[in-house]
Symmetry: C2
Subunit: 203 residues, 2 copies
């Protein structure tokens, strides 16, 4: 019913991501609709989102935690999704300050613990490490694009009925919006290579 | 000189990512400028880009391969960066078709093997799996944002002197642009939660 192989469901249970189904007969286990929905969510987070088992546990815990507002649910989910992959190194103060200046320059209101600050600052450190100091126009293009996508993400929440469905899209959309954007960016790169620099060769 | 600990440099060498330095004395090894630059690049790909050792090897091989045009270098790098994480499952045909329609609707020119198609299609499958069928306006916002960022990425290449420096920014910028955007998107999310839905509560 969930479109997920039984072996995967059993793996999720072994890893503590999913409660056991109700045993209705010696060889049969029944799964309710909420259970099926949760299986799909776990698969989406693990496979498409690329989250670790531990990060997936955190995201699910955030959905199961009562939170008071949309902003709080977002915050819990975002922090749960700060995977070890992006948490490996502390970004430089200079890059953090530059991200903060960029975001406040856009008029954005956010809390100092938003995990996006360090994620963007770490990326900036990486660009600086290869000797690329991004001009303000480059950073402004990224910020404009982020605002465009964030507005579409928030509007999408209005299409959902019920608290769980809104929170679920918040979490899954935050995770999957990154590869959706990344995929389209690679297509746009190829197009831009043809159209913006048609005659430019690297040789 | 590279700002990378010697233990990390030795690890890169053991993994075959980096050639040995020139031994100038029994206890001293000399590293040239190209070597130092390569160490920084490997660190950026592994730590900030979150690539595996195998994917990092592929990216470095793509830099060291003579390629004929900017488009070709981009293509080699993009394919090298299709990490196992996003290559785990085959996306549905329906989602692939939808991504292709979105991209061609933007007037983008690209080859059918561009890895962005499957990456975006897989993300779309994940959204559909939780019952969110994105409206065209949602996908169009993502495509517009991707075009904005891709143009800035291409313009940034003009600031680089020399083939190696251009190719290096292509590869590193493709990898690090994703977390840069993702970080800013999380900041924009928090702001949008306050400003677009100031009174909306999930309770």
């Amino acid at each position: 019913m969930s479109g997920v192989p039984l072996s995967a469901v059993k793996y999720y249970q072994r890893e503590g991501l999913l409660p056991e189904g109700v045993r209705s007969a010696p060889n049969q286990v029944e799964y309710g609709e909420a259970h099926v929905r949760r299986v799909r969510l776990i698969r989406a987070l693990l496979e498409t989102g690329g989250l670790s088992i531990a990060a997936t546990k955190n995201v699910i815990a955030s959905l199961d935690t009562d939170s008071e507002s949309l902003a709080e649910t977002f915050s819990v989910a975002q922090n749960a999704m700060s995977t070890p992959r992006t948490a490996e190194s502390t970004p430089s103060d200079a890059s953090r300050q530059r991200v903060l200046a960029l975001a406040t320059g856009q008029g954005w209101a956010f809390l100092p613990q938003n995990p996006g600050i360090d994620a963007a600052a770490r990326a900036l450190d990486g660009l600086l490490a290869i000797g690329f100091d991004p001009p303000e126009s480059y950073l402004a293009a990224y910020a404009t694009a982020a605002a465009t996508v964030a507005e579409a993400d928030l509007q999408a929440l209005d299409t959902r009925d019920g608290i769980d469905a809104v929170a679920e899209l918040m979490v899954v959309g935050t995770v999957l919006g990154d590869p959706l954007f990344g995929g389209l960016r690679r297509l746009a790169h190829e197009d831009a290579t043809h159209t913006l620099r048609p005659t430019h060769d690297t040789k």
